[in-house]
Every structure is written in C-alpha cells, then in structure tokens.
C-alpha cells in the first residue's frame, strides 16, 4: 500500500468556504435584521421558502455537521433519554441532543446556536422521521409545522402523483405568506426555481466528471462539495460556485489529474456517508488506490425536472422522483445504470442502522444486482452519525478484503 497517498484538495474550496460562511452568517443575523427563518427538510420546497424571502435553514445539514465534527455520538444519548429511541434517525437524535445540550458546530462559525424557526416545513419524501423531528421543535417554540406528504415506494412518478404533491405544495403558500408577512410573487418563484435548476445542472456536471478514468473527484470530495447544492440551491451564490468547481474539474480531466493517484479500482457507494469517519475512510481508499467514483447519496441532489415555467408541478415532480422514495425496481435499474456509466468494479452498501430508508441492502437488492452486473458487492454495517453502531476494525478489514477480491478478478 502506498503510505504517502494524500487527498488532493480543490483550489475552489476557498470559495466554497466563503460561500458557506456567508450563508451561515446570514442565518445567524436573520432575526436581528428582521428576516424570518424557515426550517426545511433537505429535499423540501426550499424554492418556495426562498421566494417568500425566508432565510432557509436545513437541519439535516446540521445533522451531518454534528456527525462530521464527531459531536453526534456525545449528544445522541440526551435525545435518547427524552424518549427518542436509539434505533431511529441519528440525524434527528443528534440534532435534538445538540439542542438540549446547547452545543453545536455552528457556534464555531459565530452563531449562538441553531437559528430559531418561525416556521418548519417538511417533505416526507425521505422518511417520516423528518416530520417527527420538526414537530418536536414546533412544540418547543410554539411555531407552525407544515409540510408535504409525498407517496413513497413509487415506481412511476405519474401525473396523478404530481397533481397531488403540487396541490399539497400550493396549500403551503397561504400559511407561509402569513408567517413571512408578504405575498408570494410568482415571478420571483420562477426566478428561484431557475437558479435551482442551474445549480442542479452544474452539480450534475460535477458528479458526471467522475465517469472519466481516472476520476478527478471522489465520493468523499462530493460529500463536502455538495454543501452549496443542499443549502443554497435557488441562490446565485451556488450557481457561481459550481461554475468555478466545474472549470477546475475540467482542468483536472484535461491534465489527467486523478483524485486517487494510481487509481486501479472504481467503487459505487450505496447509502449514507459515515460522517464521523469520512477522513479515515477516504484515506483508506486512497491507500488502496481505489476511487469511490459514484454514490446514490451525492446524486440525490440532482433535480432534472425543475422547470421555471411550471414551478409547482415541476417541484412536485422533482422532489417526488428522488431515489429514496422510489420502489426497489426503480432503485435496481438506477444503480445498474450508474454502475455501467461510471465503469465500477464493485458496489459497497452501507447498511446504516438508524436509516432504514437509505439502506438498500436489506431486501436482497445486492444479490440481484450482482447477478445482473457480474460485479461483487460488500455490505458494511454502520451508521450515518451514531458511531456506537460502527466497528472501525471490522469495516477496515472488510474494505481491505473487498479490494483484494476485486484485484484478483
């Protein structure tokens, strides 16, 4: 193994830090400057909230920050003790635990704590947990919690489904206008949806760059680079940032710069990141000269269907089409397509104990895909945030053994 393998940082990172820093600063100053704050699930109707002038805060992003900063495992027990089971979403338990302890990575960014919500807006397209999570804060602050109940397990996103979700989204407008103290300007909504669409297309280009051999970017880079696509979609800042990043990736491709020096294996990561172990895993894969080139997770922030000409219906279609709320038939076909497009050698499934909705190794899918693709798979047991559920030694050995196996083929 190459002991000297090092991750190659992007020059664009400096700009990303500035863009993200500005976002968090504005969130922190929101109330003092008379801006209203809306909490939104990561694949919720952010465009609508932004068009109404809200500062939009994404608790799932905060969950990921708690995981990456390794604070999560310390604060989760506080939420467990308040009646939230250790078996449910550890974004939820770490976020509520962090609130109860009044300790958050946001404090290092100059915020007093998480920004208080004036309204919480969910979309259950990912799971029911987001609604339970938001309702806890709604009760705590006595503020409204409203949302969209997207059907799950769908094979085809048909017009009837889109009509239903679009209608539910439209019913949010009036209560949101009341909180915002302003009327929705449909042209402003179109403008925000257009910016979201631009962001999504650029983010797609970022991820597609990994179809090149060698890949200029890894999944681990992607989990960091996706920040603006998650919290700033619908803003010009996100669009501007991804233009810079796409240019840098194209430059890497032209110059033959590999994210993983001497790339010899290409892996697909299925499931959630293990936020508290990103650095360790990234460096293990570097040493194994193995590039995790694609993932369901990073691709979940591509919303091809957004269309400024038809904002409500296109948002409904886009947010009902995401991988996590689809049927296993769809998921199987999706991963098969990705595996071929990215020329992968094997698939790694992360079975996240507290995230059944984003763990796709539990219903025989890996065996079906192995049959179809003729590519081996590995399942590692862990969790997105709760490191009590992760055995580092087991995971390391499994990954090393998987690389050994792929090299023998």
């Amino acid at each position: 193994m190459a002991a000297t393998a090092e991750r190659k940082d992007f020059a664009a990172n400096k700009q990303m830090r500035a863009v993200m820093g500005k976002y968090f600063t504005e969130l922190g100053q929101g109330a003092a400057e008379g801006k209203k704050t809306a909490w939104c699930t990561s694949v919720g109707p952010a465009e609508l909230l932004r068009a109404l002038g809200f500062n939009v805060y994404f608790p799932e992003n905060h969950g990921a920050m708690l995981g990456a900063s390794k604070m999560a495992t310390d604060v989760i027990p506080l939420a467990n003790a308040q009646g939230f089971s250790p078996d449910i979403c550890s974004y939820l338990t770490s976020d509520i635990g962090s609130f109860l302890k009044n300790e958050t990575p946001l404090q290092k960014m100059g915020l007093a704590g998480v920004p208080k919500a004036d309204v919480l807006v969910f979309n259950t397209n990912q799971c029911r947990d987001v609604k339970d999570w938001f309702q806890w804060y709604a009760r705590h602050w006595n503020v409204p919690c409203i949302g969209i109940h997207t059907p799950r397990g769908t094979s085809e996103v048909d017009d009837a489904l889109v009509d239903y979700v679009a209608k539910e989204t439209e019913t949010l407008v009036e209560p949101l206008e009341q909180v915002a103290g302003t009327k929705l300007d449909i042209d402003r909504l179109r403008e925000v949806v257009d910016l979201s669409k631009q962001c999504t297309l650029l983010w797609k280009q970022v991820l597609k760059s990994a179809t090149h051999v060698p890949s200029p970017i890894t999944f681990f880079d992607g989990t960091i680079q996706m920040g603006p696509a998650v919290v700033l979609r619908g803003s010009q800042d996100a669009v501007d940032y991804y233009r810079v990043l796409v240019d840098e990736l194209n430059q890497r491709i032209t110059q033959g710069v590999a994210a993983v020096e001497g790339e010899r294996l290409r892996i697909y990561w299925e499931g959630m990141p293990i936020w508290g172990k990103l650095r360790d895993l990234s460096s293990q894969f570097l040493q194994l000269r193995t590039c995790v080139v694609a993932s369901t997770y990073c691709n979940s922030w591509i919303f091809d269907d957004l269309d400024p000409a038809d904002p409500f219906r296109s948002m409904a279609r886009a947010y009902s089409s995401i991988f996590i709320c689809r049927s296993d038939d769809f998921k199987e076909a999706y991963i098969e397509r990705m595996a071929r497009e990215y020329q992968i050698d094997g698939i790694l499934y992360h079975d996240a104990k507290t995230c059944p909705n984003n763990s796709n190794s539990r219903y025989e899918l890996p065996l079906r895909l192995r049959e179809k693709l003729g590519k081996p798979f590995l399942t590692i047991n862990g969790d997105l945030n709760d490191l009590r559920l992760y055995s580092e030694e087991q995971a390391r050995t499994n990954i090393e053994a998987f690389a050994e196996q792929l090299m023998q083929v």
Binding site: M1, N381, T397, N398, A401, E404, Q405, Q408, V409
Partner: protein, 260 residues
C-alpha cells in the same frame, strides 16, 4: 533451503507457520496475542525457530494477517485474514468451497470458486454471537473452564434452545434455563448450536463446507453440529487453528514466485 513464514495475529492468539518452497510445513507455534502484538509476533517466531532448529536468516519472505497484521515489524507483506483463510483452506480442498472460520472475536464466511478465487465473503455483524467470545462468556456464566465445554456438550441428551442474537441476552437466557432445572451439558450444547445458527444466517453455503479456526480446533462437536444444521458434511483441514497462518505462508511463497 529458503523458508516462508505466515503469522496470523488474532484477537486471542498469534499463530505462526513456516513452510518450505515445496509448501511443506516446517514449523509452527501458537501463543496468546496479549497486548503487544509486535512483541507477541517476535516471541512466536523465536519459539518456532528455536523449537525446529531454524534461524531467522532462513526466512525468505513473511506475510502477516489478522487484527494485528500491521504490527509485525519483520513482515514483508500484509493481507487480510479473509484472503489467508481462503488460501489456506483451498490448499486442502481444491474445489468450490465455503469456508466458515470461527475465531475468538469474529466469524467469517468465505466462498471460493473451483480456481480458489474469492466470490464472496462476509464477517459477523456487530455482536459477538457466533464467535469464540460468545463461548467464553457462556463458560464464565456457567463457571466452567472453556476447555471443558466440548466434553460436556458431548454428554448432552436433550436439545436446549438459546435463541438471542445478543451474547448478553443469551447469558440471561441461560440463567432462566438454570432456574428451570436444565442440565449444564444440555445448555452447553445449546450454546454450540446457537453458534452454528448465527453462522447459518450469514449466507448460503455453496460447494464443500470447510470449517477452520481455533474454536473449531478446540471444539470438535461444532463441525458435527454444523453438518446437522446446515445439511452439509463439514470438512476440517489439518491444524484448523493455524489455517490462516498457513495461508499467509503460502501467499508469501506465491509472492516470491511471482504467482498471483
């Protein structure tokens, strides 16, 4: 003659095997892993060399494996225990096999094709159930020396079912069985059966079933119970506890010869 060494630093024991260029066993040693893996590997090597009248200069290449694989100062190469157990077992059974290795801290299922290429592998999930640590806990709970478990299980006359995924909960089940007046021989056999049930859940057994590891070496009833439960005759290679170290030595030889 040059020699090739494989050392398997497991959670409980260090196993070391030396072979010659004809793949013949020349020396072996086993000792407790302790808390200093590097030192335990050194001592194990010295013990083997002294016992069999060899010197370090004769070792042409060494490969380390197991939990402490990266702690062996004199190893030229490193491989996972999955690779080494597969290689060691395939040496004895040159056909499609499924290797079940039961170690102190984990158990593994490794499927190999007719050429010895790995098709699939799996390690146990988070709990100790299905491992040597499970049997150690049961022995502790029953106040028995670990070495007596197999003999007691052989005297069992009744099936006692212990069903939990969790080692601690199984220990609680045992307390209930004791309260209900079950015989210790039957409880121990129930614990052995529980180990096999945990393995059954891990994956399909294709080809010949081969069982390896220290737990199998010390408890010959386990392969018999595996044969009953899994419906396949379980084969045990010579010196099953050292099969990972043997595989490591074979891989050291292969690397020297330039074969993959």
């Amino acid at each position: 003659m040059p020699y090739y060494c494989g050392v398997d630093i497991g959670a409980s024991s260090v196993k070391l095997v030396v072979i010659d260029e004809h793949q013949h066993l020349v020396a072996r040693a086993i000792r407790r892993s302790g808390i200093d893996y590097a030192q335990s590997a050194d001592r194990c090597l010295d013990e083997a060399l002294t016992k069999y009248g060899l010197d370090r200069g004769g070792i042409r290449r060494a490969l380390s494996t197991g939990y402490g694989r990266n702690n062996v100062r004199w190893a030229d190469d490193v491989a996972t225990e999955i690779a080494c157990h597969g290689t060691g077992a395939f040496f004895h059974f040159r056909q499609p096999i499924t290797v079940i290795d039961i170690g102190a801290q984990d158990c593994k299922l490794i499927r190999l094709d007719a050429q010895g290429r790995r098709i699939e592998f799996k390690m146990n999930r988070k709990c100790a159930a299905g491992t040597g640590a499970f049997l150690e806990e049961i022995a502790l709970r029953l106040d028995l020396p670990i070495g007596e478990l197999n003999g007691l299980a052989e005297q069992s006359t009744k099936e006692v079912t212990l069903g939990s995924f969790c080692t601690v909960f199984t220990a609680t089940e045992i307390l209930a069985k004791i309260r209900a007046g079950e015989r210790v021989e039957d409880i121990v056999k129930g614990a052995f059966r529980a180990v096999i049930k945990r393995i059954e859940e891990m994956g399909a057994i294709d080809g010949t079933l081969v069982m390896t590891g220290g737990v199998v070496a010390h408890n010959p009833m386990l392969p018999r119970l595996a044969s009953e439960t899994l419906g396949k005759s379980a084969q045990v290679p010579p010196d099953p506890q050292c099969i990972g170290a043997f595989g490591a030595a074979l891989m050291a030889l292969e690397k020297t010869n330039g074969t993959p």
